[in-house]
Symmetry: C2
Subunit: 599 residues, 2 copies
């Protein structure tokens, strides 16, 4: 039996079968709900309200996540609710995975242009009965590359392509390889991608001028199969088709992103003659369809760590027929090519002195360069700063509280796009903790003081909690921050700080000797450095030593796209890095315990 | 409605739908009928007899091909006859495309072994938390190839493969590329293929020892889409999917051939680490899925003429994951890589002096080496010596007359496998013409003398004809050879001889100066050289100057498989060859007219 499902507020309508979940119908409608648990009914993020129509009764997962009262008001988990008739469903903004701030901005460090592919305009002599040289031979000779290598994918259309343009065309050439034939006057484009666990950032670049023509951000749709790296690795281990699902999902997302960028600048995806993709080791492996089982189990081995140039068509990207995708080298199982790109794109390699770099995300990779040595580690900082595992946490979407100031006992909030507050994103969460601590309402062990806060700190169901916005202040929606939310932040910042401290210990350098700290990543762009210092996430150093470099991995990917010399440089850098496995460090437990404290 | 179709004499039964042709049912049953016109009802080769059951009425094609009387006796064209109920069908041997002599034998010229791929047994150090180098890195270092290149297809299973064999395995290595991981003790195999217009010959070779482990011949199944090169080219032009049909058909045939050869020697196709495929330029292009339109129209341009190394998986051959297929260079549109292989495999390059080489087939390619120069041409000799266009012609299958002697007015016949005669194959056809001419029953212009032959030469429906075997002598089946059959042979041998003569003219060499003539190809193996001299197909030279070298293209393919040096050598040879386009030669018409004469 087929029913219709209407979604509010966007007004989309899709047909659905008896028993489909609302989540499935929403996916059909192109609405991306936040399902960080992969639709298992345990993350509680895909909350929707059934406005009319017949659906299955609330199950135990929904009762647990939403409570009896909410389910009575027809608030439901989209992944647990089955359609039994025509249904009208309201989706609140915080349940949407899309429309959030996906950050593509990073530094634009100038590079000498040495792109891998150039576009060469050619006019071939027309064939005659006296000149029966093959199409490949006459093209090679016209290009001055007698040993021109033409991959099968290009060869299959070469003769027709040349005739279509009456032997006057643009040849995309990489070294002595023909990448594609395009109409005369076509510049070669490049596609740089930062493939994050949570977000994708893509850039369309003119390879000849180095100019970024367009950029876009999107969610990594793999999130439907697991929120973090480990959840995705276990997804591949739990289902035989799991790895292929993850691979094809992200490849499809990159194809649509490239397609949209091309539409923006009125170009064809066939004009994309080269690509660089950076991601952490697990994202790198999942994107390529490499096995990750051995990456998820000790001793955490990558299948491949070298820089790779792979045919885009083998990967599934629909670029120029013989375009390559270049992947920067991975350093270790948990310090991947995105960190290598961040080293390049942050500018920290050129800074000199003692330099610390942190790329903050679900995993935070940290590099320390000191006295000619380079150490790196990865810390499982977790997704708390992405808003996950925080009761009212959310991603950086409209309505997210992104700044919090407690001033004279007053709580001042700033939300993204000045929308009514629906939750707290990373920078807001950091501010809450820092401001509570500075106001003396929160002690260094993470305890909220019930006697402070002018009535904003109260005993909640699961311990003390701070009312960030009361229902009264915020149009009926209450936003709180609990003791257990504070603990999540302690764990996250403690992990980062411990990683940095162990690297400093290895290098025999004190915190005060650090000349510069580079903070990269989406959250890293928006966070308040002083708040980070206040809670002990960062060492207490003058603020001018900090540089917030935005999506440095994306910048690094663009640099590698524009310069094969930079690609070579980072291979040497990746080889020089000494990877530090934190879990085997003797000092880890004591340093971690200390770093949990709010300073 | 589903019916059953029973085939005699092999007893196979298949289900068929209302309206299916008998040809389709036979294909279902794995019975390969001779359909040189591609099932258009015009070649008249797929003759079958409907013994029982309801079928469609004979159509105009059948009346034309078979005559009213035959159709009255239920002789039908399988491609034109539609099934209307359960049917029993008899297939006479001459209608079968299979079971014929497909020749794989050729010279085995010893070569220094320099295979492209070697099998290296490795034991990797087991990973530990202190040694987190990637699987690729540890394999590269164990092999002593730090920059080991691992194609994506191999990388995708590398980690699992290594663990399956507990880090002890055979690595197939080509230069610094990993071709595959196999169990310890696995030698690397190679697959050499002569991809003929009519026949396929395949060889499974041990790359380390150079030994041919098994060989097989099969029909080229593309024959269902057209008998000769031009018919197949026009097939690709008449249907959008035509090229892909031809490509996938022959790729599937090579996959089954490789599979069968591997079964014979109890090995896996994954053990095949390298392949060499040779064919004429059109077969080469169709096999790779390259466009052939420009090859079929003047000025007959190949898309590609260079030697190629292409990934087997891109081509569709299921060998070791990163096995390559090597294709020898093409010389021109109608002198392809198979001729290059023949030059190599015949031994004519090493002979010295003035050497003529002819690879006789539907197209006959001819090379002349004289005074340090090398000329080559191609002649459209046609399929007459394959038995096509000859009234009682057939391929070299059991029951084919392969030798004919006229002695004292007596006609003596020898058939393949001593079966009752069903028709004449190439060597028999050549003998008939030569023996008739020598007996004085046939004049030099191709006229049969009705006054001679002791009653065996008579006036037939379409002119004079010679009774090769009377119904009385041959169990009721009469086999004749007509004036128009003689003309086909005159055209075929005239084309070959003209090609040779023009090359001699170019080189300024007389026939008598030729030191050696190499005759290659299946028909070339079995023909009687004296008969060839008698009808003027070959120059009149002492018989010891002739060498019948069998499937020299197949031998050459094996040599190229075993030696990358030979591959390099033939690239230089192919470059040096001066291709002679016969159609633009002024002397062509007069030389051709002269060469039509039976000498």
């Amino acid at each position: 039996m087929t029913f219709f499902i209407d979604f509010e507020p966007n007004g989309r309508r899709v047909p659905g079968k008896d028993g489909d979940t609302i989540l499935e119908a929403a996916q059909q409608a192109g609405i991306m709900l936040n399902v960080t648990c992969g639709g298992e009914g345990i993350c509680g993020h895909c909350v929707v309200r059934v406005m009319a129509g017949a659906v299955s009764a609330p199950n135990v997962n929904e009762e647990t996540e939403l409570g009896a009262e909410q389910t009575r008001e027809d608030w439901r988990l989209a992944c647990q609710t089955h359609i039994l008739g025509d249904v009208r469903v309201h989706i609140p903004p915080e349940s949407l995975a899309t429309a959030q701030r996906t950050q593509t901005e990073g530094r634009e460090i100038p590079v000498d242009l040495h792109p891998a592919v150039r576009s060469v305009e050619v006019r071939l002599p027309e064939p005659t009965i006296k000149d029966q040289r093959s199409d490949a031979t006459r093209l090679g000779e016209t290009l001055g590359i007698p040993d021109l290598h033409i991959p099968l994918s290009v060869l299959r259309t070469l003769s027709n392509d040349l005739r279509e343009h009456t032997f006057h065309a643009c040849a995309f050439v990489r070294d002595s390889t023909l990448v594609g034939i395009r109409p005369p006057g076509t510049p070669a484009l490049g596609f740089a991608v930062d493939l994050g666990t949570t977000k994708l950032a893509g850039y369309l670049v003119d390879l000849a001028s180095g100019q970024t023509l367009a950029s876009a951000g999107a969610m990594n749709p793999q999130i439907a199969y697991g929120e973090d790296v480990m959840a995705r690795i276990s997804h591949t281990m739990s289902k035989p088709e799991g790895g292929e699902q993850l691979r094809s999902t992200v490849v499809a997302a990159l194809n649509s992103m490239a397609g949209e960028l091309c539409v923006q600048v009125k170009r064809s995806m066939r004009d994309i003659a080269d690509a660089v993709v950076v991601g952490n080791t697990a994202m790198h492996h999942l994107f390529l369809g490499l096995p990750v089982r051995q990456l998820g189990l000790a001793p955490y081995l990558p299948a491949e760590s070298a820089a790779l140039d792979l045919p885009a068509d083998q990967i599934g990207l629909a670029l120029a027929p013989a375009a390559n995708v270049h992947l920067l080298p991975n350093i270790a199982g948990f310090v991947g090519a995105d960190h290598v790109a961040m080293l390049l794109g942050s500018g920290m390699l050129e800074h000199g002195g003692i330099v610390l770099g942190m790329d903050i995300g679900t995993n935070t990779e940290i590099s320390l360069i000191a006295h000619g040595k380079h150490y790196a580690c990865s810390t499982a900082s977790g997704p708390a700063f992405e808003g996950a595992h925080i009761r009212h946490g959310m991603r950086a979407a409209p309505g997210a509280i992104e700044k919090v100031v407690i001033h004279d006992g007053q709580v001042l909030l700033q939300t993204i796009d000045n929308q009514p507050a629906v939750g707290l994103c990373g920078s807001g969460i950091l501010d809450v903790v820092a401001q509570l601590h500075r106001a003396g309402w929160l002690n260094e062990r993470g305890g909220l003081d019930l006697s402070r806060g002018g009535g904003r700190i109260r005993q909640g169901e699961r311990g003390a909690e701070f009312v960030v916005a009361s229902a009264q202040e915020n149009g009926g929606r209450e936003i709180t921050f609990s003791r257990s939310d504070v603990n999540e932040i302690q764990l996250a910042k403690g992990a980062m700080r411990t990683g940095a401290n162990i690297l400093l210990q290895k290098a025999g350098v004190s915190e005060q000797e650090i000349d510069a700290i580079f903070i990269a990543g989406a959250f890293g762009t928006y966070l308040d450095v002083q708040s980070g210092i206040d809670i002990g996430m960062f060492p207490c150093l003058p603020k001018e030593r900090f540089q917030q470099v935005g999506n440095a991995a994306g910048s690094g990917a663009r640099m590698a796209l524009l310069s094969t010399e930079k690609r070579r440089e980072v291979v040497a850098i990746a080889r020089r890095v000494q990877y530090v496995e934190l879990t085997t460090e003797k000092s880890f437990p004591s340093l971690f315990a200390k770093a949990l404290m709010l300073e």
